[in-house]
């Protein structure tokens, strides 16, 4: 299942202006998204493994690009996640 507000945050930060605001004033931006505490903690920790289970894979890639992580940093961490993180929503259909 997708986490809606985490997904929305990552979707919105595709806008360069929104990404700038996020870098300058992270707290104020995050306050606009009612993230669950454990999700907020994963955002604060740049916890790729946890976040990858909650959002679309394209969006998590955009997000870490938007917040200034370079590709090598992201690749190192995303490669440690298991297969099928993105396909959880589809699992039943795939087996049906």
């Amino acid at each position: 299942m997708r986490d809606y507000w985490l997904s929305k945050l990552m979707f919105d930060l595709q806008q360069p202006a929104a990404a700038e605001e996020f870098k300058a004033n992270r707290e104020a931006v995050l306050a606009r998204y009612p993230l669950k505490p454990e999700v907020r903690a994963a955002v604060d920790a740049d916890d790729v493994t946890t976040l990858a289970k909650l959002v679309n894979p394209y969006l998590i890639r955009f997000y870490f690009f938007a917040v200034g992580r370079n590709e090598a940093w992201f690749l190192e961490r995303i490669r440690k996640t298991g297969p099928a993180a993105s396909n959880a929503a589809n699992k039943e259909a795939a087996h049906g």
């Binding site: 997904s7 595709q14 679309n56 894979p57 969006l59 297969p83 993180a85």
Partner: protein, 279 residues
């Protein structure tokens, strides 16, 4: 009566815009030749309308209202919003509301219920192939967006039926119009997952062989089994399948295959040889 005058497929790897030179001069020369040949075939077809089957990469649509299949019926579309595509010469692109609404009406009469958009932005999936082919000005574009980014997704079998629907709409359009189809995306790639960057060359080879064989049922079975394991971006092969079914499942002709690791995508380019002469 409108007429199908051409069908084309092209990958749309963003790094073909952002890091064209990263693959070195020899490979740039090789893929440039592929684009030239694709462009030659495209221009020979002289379409008035180009039905472009492409995903939306989280530009127009979000999970607050994510369409599985969406037709662009607007008078105009905006060009790509991606900042790294500032250079492409497409700010506003004409649509073709008459053909698009005919396609929509044909869909509703034939067991399809697409979302409709009267105004959208055409992202890199649409414009990178046009731009690298030197299509300028573009013909009227009728976007057909199949969700290939977020599960659950339209099944391959339904993509076959969607392709046949597009063909039915072309054949039944009450106007003198040259219509071509272009499917974008694929072949194998993975984005934002554990195998990001992996190109599955064996899948790509086998997949192209299946397209070539022209047995649609077998191709659908192949994709049902092997598309997902070849990486999440490989889902875009649905667009090729849709074009293939529109053409009638025959005449697939690979122009070039460029599995360049630096671009993350098994980039493939093809056209279909149409049974009827496109005069």
């Amino acid at each position: 009566m409108a007429k199908l005058v051409g069908a084309f497929a092209a990958s749309h790897a963003p790094l073909m815009a952002r890091a064209w030179d990263a693959v070195g001069p020899e490979r740039v020369a090789s893929i440039s030749k592929t684009f030239e040949e694709l462009s030659r075939r495209y221009h020979e077809a002289r379409p008035d309308v180009l039905v472009m089957i492409s995903p939306d990469h989280w530009v127009n649509f979000f999970i607050n209202n994510l369409p599985s299949i969406c037709f662009g019926v607007g008078e105009t579309h905006n060009g790509p919003p991606e900042p790294w595509l500032k250079g492409v010469p497409y700010k506003t692109i004409a649509g073709h509301p008459e053909f698009a609404m005919h396609l929509a009406n044909t869909a509703f009469a034939n067991n399809f219920e697409p979302s409709l958009t009267h105004h959208m932005e055409l992202d890199h999936g649409f414009v990178i192939p046009l731009w690298r082919m030197g299509v300028n000005p573009p013909p009227a574009i009728v976007p057909v967006i199949i969700n290939t980014v977020e599960p659950p997704m339209t099944t391959p079998q339904r993509c076959v039926e969607l392709g046949r629907l597009i063909r039915k709409a072309i054949d039944s359009f009450p106007g003198d119009l040259r219509v071509a189809i272009m499917a974008t995306g694929g072949l194998s790639h993975s984005i934002g997952e554990h195998d990001m960057g992996r190109i599955d060359e064996q899948f790509d080879m086998d997949c192209m062989a299946e397209f070539k064989t022209g047995n649609i049922e077998q191709l659908v079975r192949f994709l049902d089994q092997r598309m997902e394991p070849a990486g999440n971006g490989t889902a875009e092969v649905r667009n090729w399948l849709t074009a293939h079914a529109a053409v009638g499942g025959k005449g697939f002709d690979m122009i070039g295959y460029h599995p360049y690791q630096e671009w993350y995508v098994g980039c493939g380019f093809a056209s279909w040889v149409l049974p009827q002469a496109a005069a």
